[in-house]
Amino acid sequence: EAGVAQSPRYKIIEKRQSVAFWCNPISGHATLYWYQQILGQGPKLLIQFQNNGVVDDSQLPKDRFSAERLKGVDSTLKIQPAKLEDSAVYLCASTLPGSYNEQFFGPGTRLTVL
């Protein structure tokens, strides 16, 4: 079974530039999450999708971050404009609906903002 795919794996940009990350979840997983993991910390939830609808985006900095999952499969997370403190690994995870299912994580995109 193919896992969660993410691209790019690495990205280096300068502050105030824009960047986008892509995620393709495991086939059949209706629920998709984006997490931000700053070095030395645990992942922090940014947004949760159920199919193409947003379930929880309470921790998404909406002034600069946006995410979409238009067809209920792939998802894109965008940062515009980026700040130095956005340097982190951005993880995508997917799961079957329900709170008792394990989440499957992609390899992440490591973003460095200079």
């Binding site: 629920t31 999450y33 997490y35 030395g40 910390q41 645990g42 992942p43 922090k44 939830l45 949760q48 159920q50 379930v55 929880d56 993880l91 995870a93 329900g98 709170s99 008792y100 394990e102 989440q103 499957f104 994580f105 992609g106 390899p107 992440g108």
Partner: protein
């Protein structure tokens, strides 16, 4: 904000010894999960324990949950070099439809050969 706090932050033991990590959390939970993260395999789910369970086993892993103390522990028995990784507890809050995980800061485990 982080929900859980793992203890210790770092742990170094000899191969073959047992490793115990603790996790505390703040609010009522639906379930608690443990994940492992290393550079080779990324973030991987290890075990899930529901709020009405007290103990669960999976291979060399044993997890306990004390909801009255809002704490959990992960025991890895007969440790191996491949167990070297960061270990995170993660919780899902009870109530509501959102079930994103709230992670602690992690315990970095080093297994010395």
């Amino acid at each position: 904000s982080q929900q859980g706090e793992e203890d210790p932050q770092a742990l170094s033991i000899q191969e073959g010894e047992n490793a115990t990590m603790n996790c505390s959390y703040k609010t009522s939970i639906n379930n608690l999960q443990w994940y492992r993260q290393n550079s080779g395999r990324g973030l991987v789910h290890l075990i899930l324990i529901r709020s009405n369970e007290r103990e669960k086993h999976s291979g060399r892993l044993r997890v306990t949950l004390d909801t009255s103390k809002k704490s959990s522990s992960l025991l890895i028995t007969a440790s191996r070099a491949a167990d070297t990784a960061s270990y995170f507890c993660a919780t899902i809050h009870s109530g509501g439809g959102a079930d994103g995980l709230t992670f602690g800061k992690g315990t970095h485990l080093i297994i010395q050969p």
